[in-house]
Symmetry: C2
Subunit: 382 residues, 2 copies
């Protein structure tokens, strides 16, 4: 299922083969929370900007329109009109971050919907059931996401529960895949490593979940506010302890620089809301760092966002026009920003894959990060 | 400049030839108020949905980003990246409807910007100057838009002033087109007929402005709330009094039925915010009338908005998906709705042109309107 084509240091160039097509790794998954990319970007657009795999959120889709509705309509692929791979998260992260008044028990978590306050219970079986209804290509195990600065004793207990929940996820997913009316009988399950910032807990957990021989493993709980150096330290410790023949997915990370550093540490899958969220606020990624299109200096700037960029927006529209659209509150401005930023991330991954293929990853990474820090005029970006 | 290819009753099939290309008439102009179609529809999308001519609003662009900025960037065509014809309104309608504390004098109108309250003066010369800076294909004369139910005496005075303003517009436009650094030296000017609901005032005014031999004539002041039968009565009276060899533009109108009726009365150009505004509120135009996608009955409806529709949205997405996007507040839902509705209007005009070409307009119109009234199930639409 996962073929490693080439290694360059710890960076891996791979192919992840699924029933919905093959993903070239390292890859950045484009986030479409509620079965849509924020910023009016369509699935047709995604193909144009090189998106290989889309990520949707189980919690959001369970709440609206409901996973039963999506199942009735033939699953998430048909619902969104997207025939390439989709990864769904477990709902766990949203339950622990969005929902109010949650209560964690061995069976799962009780909480109130952020949309209508309705009481919902979600445990490993419920999460698998919902993801099975969605019929995603890759389902994520239901885990607890404790605060990364929680006490070590709490983290240990939480990680133990996450392991027990993983066993229940595996069992349930197997049953669901075998059902006659299942949307995707080949649905894959990735396990999630937790353990906060404690290397020993992380490593012990990585070894335990590695034994389940799952098609992929994620590292969770590193996208929520810790220092970048902490994240890299944990990656240095934990990636080598996960099965070497399976893809590693670093959840919710991150900046272009984070991704470049994590690829060097052996990570294969990424997702993050930065390109769409920053885009909606006027921040564009470029080869010379981020620029804020709301800035007055772009008022009559007829250049594209990034002259080196091949995205549909840079091929057709100027900074001045996009700035005007953003200032005027025209949705089209947000669409252009998000399209450009997603292309930037997708294209960064394509460059990364080329660099690994050609055995020059470390050099590539260094130059790329230097570029980001230089600014357009060759001065330090601030 | 305007070639009449065929007449079918009073309905005309024509070609309007400009420096930015030829417009096949009757035509519906797609409204992009602030140099963008509301609902994140790009100029690339407009080409895909058969848009021949785009309309932008002088008042909005004067206030933001400023017509001087747009001139500096090479004019509105370059700014928006749209190489087909653009019509700009005169700003008059917005001044009379949006702006607060306006004061009308012979020279023009003083008012406060709706964006920042800044005091602005606009008269015929200012309107021409702004439209010249924008470099649109067709500029509209600066007119007064009195309430259609104003007293006849007021309307008479107002129409007289509108005629005097038209003379000043013609003079100013000629001067501007001759300037070395003008954006579009071939900018065309359309005159506007006013006169409220008084046939005699309308007819007298039509005759007077007809003498100026302008490249086109608009009928203003009929989109602001009067009964449809009143509008048709005025069209019956006034269209035959305008020069028969020039296109007639009915400003701000209207529903598909209004357009079908007005074409039969000799109208060639239309514009209206209905398709985009209704789209943003979940209302889709179809061959069997309007439907509201927010309606619960569409929750699991996997059919396209209109099975007979060839638009990019109907080719790719279901009612259930679009409904979900709208309910979830995803911009993509609005983009889909506006795209479909604009295609509907553009396609309606293409059908109208075919029907006139083939000399079966009256029959076509009758069947089309009957269809709108039938509803999807063949029952009366409500």
């Amino acid at each position: 299922m996962f073929k490693i084509l080439k290694k360059d240091g710890r960076a891996k160039r791979g192919e992840f083969i699924t029933v919905h097509g093959t993903v070239q790794t390292p890859v950045f998954m484009n986030v479409g929370t509620a079965a849509a990319i924020k910023g009016a970007v369509s699935t047709e657009d995604l193909k144009e900007i090189g998106t290989q795999i889309e990520l949707s959120n189980t919690y959001h889709l369970h709440v609206r329109p409901g996973d039963e509705v999506i199942k009735k309509l033939g699953g998430l692929h048909k619902f969104m009109n997207w025939d390439r791979p989709i990864l769904t998260d477990s709902g766990g992260f949203q339950v622990f971050s969005l929902a109010k008044l949650r209560k964690i028990k061995e069976e799962g978590v009780s909480f109130n919907s952020h949309v209508d306050g309705r009481k919902i219970f979600m445990g490993p079986e419920e999460s698998m059931q919902i993801q099975s209804n969605l019929g995603s290509t890759i389902a994520m195990a239901f885990d607890e996401c404790p605060s990364s600065v929680a006490e070590k004793a709490y983290i240990r207990d939480s990680v133990d529960r996450t392991t027990r929940w993983l066993e229940r996820c595996i069992k349930k997913m197997k049953e669901l895949n075998a059902l006659e009316d299942t949307v995707n009988p080949h649905q894959l399950l990735f396990g999630i490593n937790q353990g906060g910032i404690y290397e020993d807990v992380r490593i012990e957990h990585a070894k335990r979940i590695g034994e389940f021989d799952l098609p992929g493993y994620a590292i969770g709980g590193l996208a929520v506010g810790e220092e970048h150096s902490e994240m890299y330290r944990i990656l240095d410790a934990v990636v080598p302890e996960l099965p070497g023949n399976k893809p590693v997915y670093l959840m919710g990370v991150g900046t272009p620089e984070n991704i470049l550093e994590a690829v060097e540490r052996g990570v294969d899958f990424f997702d993050c809301v930065y390109p769409s969220r920053n885009g909606r606020h006027g921040h564009a990624y470029t080869s010379f760092g981020k620029i804020n299109l709301m800035n007055a200096k772009f008022e009559t700037d007829d250049r594209p966002i990034d002259e080196g960029c091949g995205c549909p927006v840079c091929r057709n529209h100027s900074r001045a026009y996009i700035r005007h659209l953003l200032k005027a509150g025209e949705m089209l401005g947000m669409r252009f920003m998000v399209t450009h930023n997603l292309y930037f991330y997708n294209n960064l991954m394509a460059e990364i894959r080329d660099a690994i293929d050609e055995g020059r990853y470390s050099e590539y990474k260094k130059n790329k990060i230097n570029g980001f820090r230089m600014g357009e005029e060759g001065e330090k970006n601030v």
